[in-house]
Symmetry: D2
Amino acid sequence: MGVAGGGPGSFIGPVHRAAARLDGCYELVAGVVSSDPDRARAAGESLGFAPDRRYGDVQEMLQAEAAREDGIDVLAIMTPNDTHVPYGLLALERGLDVICDKPMARTVEEASELHRGVDASGLVFCLTHVYAGYPLVRQAREMVAAGDLGTVRLVEATYVQGGNAREDSDPTSPRSVWRKDPDRAGRSLVLGDIGSHAHHLIRFVTGLEVAEICADVGTAVPTRTFDDAAGALLRMSNGARGILWATQAAAGVENSLRLRVSGTAGTLEWDQETPMHLDFKPLDGARQMRTPNGPDATPLAKHSSRIVAGHPGGFIEAFANLYRDAAEAIAVRRAGGDPSDILEHLPDATDGLRGMEFIEAALRSSDAHGAWVRCTA
Amino acid sequence: MGVAGGGPGSFIGPVHRAAARLDGCYELVAGVVSSDPDRARAAGESLGFAPDRRYGDVQEMLQAEAAREDGIDVLAIMTPNDTHVPYGLLALERGLDVICDKPMARTVEEASELHRGVDASGLVFCLTHVYAGYPLVRQAREMVAAGDLGTVRLVEATYVQGGNAREDSDPTSPRSVWRKDPDRAGRSLVLGDIGSHAHHLIRFVTGLEVAEICADVGTAVPTRTFDDAAGALLRMSNGARGILWATQAAAGVENSLRLRVSGTAGTLEWDQETPMHLDFKPLDGARQMRTPNGPDATPLAKHSSRIVAGHPGGFIEAFANLYRDAAEAIAVRRAGGDPSDILEHLPDATDGLRGMEFIEAALRSSDAHGAWVRCTA
Amino acid sequence: MGVAGGGPGSFIGPVHRAAARLDGCYELVAGVVSSDPDRARAAGESLGFAPDRRYGDVQEMLQAEAAREDGIDVLAIMTPNDTHVPYGLLALERGLDVICDKPMARTVEEASELHRGVDASGLVFCLTHVYAGYPLVRQAREMVAAGDLGTVRLVEATYVQGGNAREDSDPTSPRSVWRKDPDRAGRSLVLGDIGSHAHHLIRFVTGLEVAEICADVGTAVPTRTFDDAAGALLRMSNGARGILWATQAAAGVENSLRLRVSGTAGTLEWDQETPMHLDFKPLDGARQMRTPNGPDATPLAKHSSRIVAGHPGGFIEAFANLYRDAAEAIAVRRAGGDPSDILEHLPDATDGLRGMEFIEAALRSSDAHGAWVRCTA
Amino acid sequence: MGVAGGGPGSFIGPVHRAAARLDGCYELVAGVVSSDPDRARAAGESLGFAPDRRYGDVQEMLQAEAAREDGIDVLAIMTPNDTHVPYGLLALERGLDVICDKPMARTVEEASELHRGVDASGLVFCLTHVYAGYPLVRQAREMVAAGDLGTVRLVEATYVQGGNAREDSDPTSPRSVWRKDPDRAGRSLVLGDIGSHAHHLIRFVTGLEVAEICADVGTAVPTRTFDDAAGALLRMSNGARGILWATQAAAGVENSLRLRVSGTAGTLEWDQETPMHLDFKPLDGARQMRTPNGPDATPLAKHSSRIVAGHPGGFIEAFANLYRDAAEAIAVRRAGGDPSDILEHLPDATDGLRGMEFIEAALRSSDAHGAWVRCTA
């Protein structure tokens, strides 16, 4: 496997690499971890790449690796958002399977292009919506699919962070400069960064699409030029109602992502800060706390837990579940089999496209002072 | 004290009476607990009223009691919503202080009438927004007022219940028939019942008004004629952004009311299902868990706790705090003093009016497909 | 009802009075709230006693009240430990039912005397082991009795407070002077104050006796003369094993009382700081969170909840459950009926005697350097 | 790195391997994962070992690897307890650094032998007391060392599982047969399996030794021949008092390990089921919730967290912290440096020896009916 991005100072780079290593499914041998040749060399060395596999440019890497017998066959992309689509397309063209950070693109147009590229390639494309890798999120999805909630009626997702609460926070972290630049990150920082996670989580667990939204996207910290708070009223594809709230301006909050889904037969609640509990409140009978690998664990949730019940895991394990599933799907595909039962729960280019459609719809609604807007054309 | 309402089968009647008794500030001696004379007699007996003080009609009670030397001087109203205003006005006209259940009225017009009546009377009028009686909600208010959060930027209130989740729940509880009748309960059940609490909680803690909203009010359970789910995007009077979500259709959920308020200097979180913790996440420094009567308790919060730290209390104690505060304010007023420092934190007719304005604004916005609407003319 | 004790500055006096008032079962009309006539008058007035019912001595009060047609018929005792037995016996001799704070006495000998007195009297004697009044503690007892846990094998009770953590705390609170005096409080402060609660809780929930113990009782704060930490290994009457840990020297801890009971079929866990959840972990099947008045509530637990599920209550409501049950038992007895089904779950003189036997056994074991000692002769 | 043990069906084998891989510090190339040649081959293949590095015997592996230029230089031991000492000694004799599962041995005598061997070798020996790898456990240790608690007075550790609750559980899991055999596992299963963790956790956080204990070790499930419940009263090396409770017979409980340490200046509480919170209750000031990488994180705790605050981790990351620290210490040592600042917090052979002394002392005390016994000669 080769990587694009994730150099020194990156938050997500080390997570990708730890996730790739955790289950031993990938060998990380090459990468472009800086466009500066000296820094690329230094960082490549610290990552254990052979000297001739520390590249300064993705195209160069793909070309050089293609020429090697032991060249990389998977590319993991963790660069700023504006390069996801071009790098993804380059890799697909070379026949590499791709693992790509979210959001997939800056615009629906870009996302559609990559989506078509993936479709045409027949290759595996995994978008790292990490929350879809948590065992109990997967269990929630399986419980909804099995009808444990009956018909879904209500969804509520809130994703609240404090990373952009400080008025003067902007210049402190040079690694994040690109995030504050809409040309590189996309038009909405808060929706791209975390709103897209909340949106995917709702879709992943319920199996429903967000059909229409009425949104308000803006800045809580008045002095800044990028958005940091977004609220949306939702209408799901089956008519269910819901709400989504995302902000990065909540001073002191670390990473509070919560989901509540109610159906005719019960409610499920999950909070990523206590990811080892899935609260199931049935319409009839006592409230239950489901645990990974615990009683009544569902098949995919079981498969996604590495240890016996009671031993906590978290973000890296969830991330690694995506990497492992992608590896399994790639192996099946290469062996000529049909990986669709794995791909079914692996976030992909369609999810990335839906995410961009959601963001653009939210912005359209907000621009139109709360008009209800359809998410997917 | 006399009571109107709260007869057999009532949920809130016993709470009012227990709250009135808890601190020994009131003697409950008369009441109209049924319009049926036989049932009024039976229920009045069980409540310990003398035979001649078990009335069948509020006007009759007020008249008869006015003729007694030991006649009641406070009326507690816990009847269906459509009678709050007429009973409140009748009591005020007789010079009685009034404690009244929420929502205060069915419409802004009604609420304004009562609001004017209270203003003109100079009497104490307490609206039982019980969550304003919880020690840590009061502490949150005091912390915001003291500047512990800096300038408020974000508010998030969710109030989720399951009481109306069952499709066939409507006819099961005869005591609730009036709730499903907009002529008696007001046009929005979910906003009157619980949305008004969330709205008041936001205002009480932040000291801000909801200036504008963009709302969606409707039914999650498709077969019914009254609403059970409402979402709203908020703009506060100081420009802060927020969200409010209220539903009674979340199967299996008991009574999940949560508040999060973020300012430039930190975030406060409170969840009524664990009311003994106020989570304070400062912008700088470690997260804190404040407790009633615990370290750094604020004055009103201390005054609102009856026991040393670590001994839980809840709904009834909070309700009783309103009753006790009202009793203190009444005593000060009758002694010719100025109770304004007590009234400052006691939910009153202005809160009731703001609540009705909020509900009507939400409905207007929802009817206008998400148009932003001002809450207060 | 009359009261002995609970004057100004008392922690438990206001709790008793609030508990007595909450359900309207008692009328508090007389009391000895100070041995100083002036203070007794002042405090009696603030409690609303008529001038001639503000007494300076219990015997005087009982005599005077006996001479009145409307004299008190119940005595609630909340004085220091050394007076529980004499006041209790005096009241019983006059034919009064008694509600008495814990621990019941200073010694087994004293406790036996009162126990015999209660037996001989046929009157109701309620010992306010408040935790036995919590709805979910009662539910735990009912679940164990119903066999939901199978055969009990393990018990674990920890009661940790910080009230005596401060080395110089002793002289700060004049109202607690008697607690530090073994002649007045009994030989073990930590076991009398809180160990006795943990011991009763184990017995109340499991229905088993502590048969033998191996204990260590002493001081964590080296400079003091009274004990503040006690640990004990337990063998229950059915052979189950267990542990009990009580300390008041844990700096910063408010009131952490936790119980865990395991049987062949599952485990129950309850924590008084979150009293609205009873955690049920069955041997087979998903973990459950039971709530007061929630799904699968047991009869007595239901009866002990005043509000619909989801509305928290706590210490005062639990205390009031004891008062209400005592009132019901008294009413049944006076009506010539048999209140034994109520008394079955009401802490009484036998519980008080068992508590003293436990404390003395713990001290004997500790004095004998950990020898196993039988609790009941 | 080579491995001994952890073959198919092992619980801890996959954890060791994931921990070794997570940070990329080790390359796992050889192993004895079964004594049966066919199974060793199959399992070795699934772990990616070259065909000639899938061994059937540890001695054979060490010899063969010593002959290779690329031979292993670290041995990770995850075999049954009876082989820890011989395999450890063999590896040390060959000059390999060792990572070994706990408990280190079956007896004090065995443990002493290995302890001497490690001392003599000058090599790194890491005992995988995983809880010492959790960021917040490390933070607790650093806070105690920094004096945040003042002088430690009280310790409380409870470790409760349900894995051996089922009466007929014994034969169901073939991989655990050796655990029930005292000749292979050591005389106390419950103390070796989990009591040793609780004991190490107390020592690791407080920096104190358990000086004396008074214990009760036995079976909660009457029909079995191995122990499953142990309680102990503790006296620490500085005179602090404490309690330790360990059982594997608590039906339905997953993995409840809790620590509470109180000193003159405050209390720390940690629960491994919610490992992302360290509860700090100072004697003065508000209760705090510390988080990994959150505000006021201590240096080693920060170093032990891989992600920004708010992103949960758990058992595997903690395990990997031990592996990473061992790798760093090994690198420093090989480079001729002094790794003592790393080794200071890495569980080692001295910890293993203290653990065995604790277990034997507990058994001696229990055999002597609760006599107080010194832990270390």
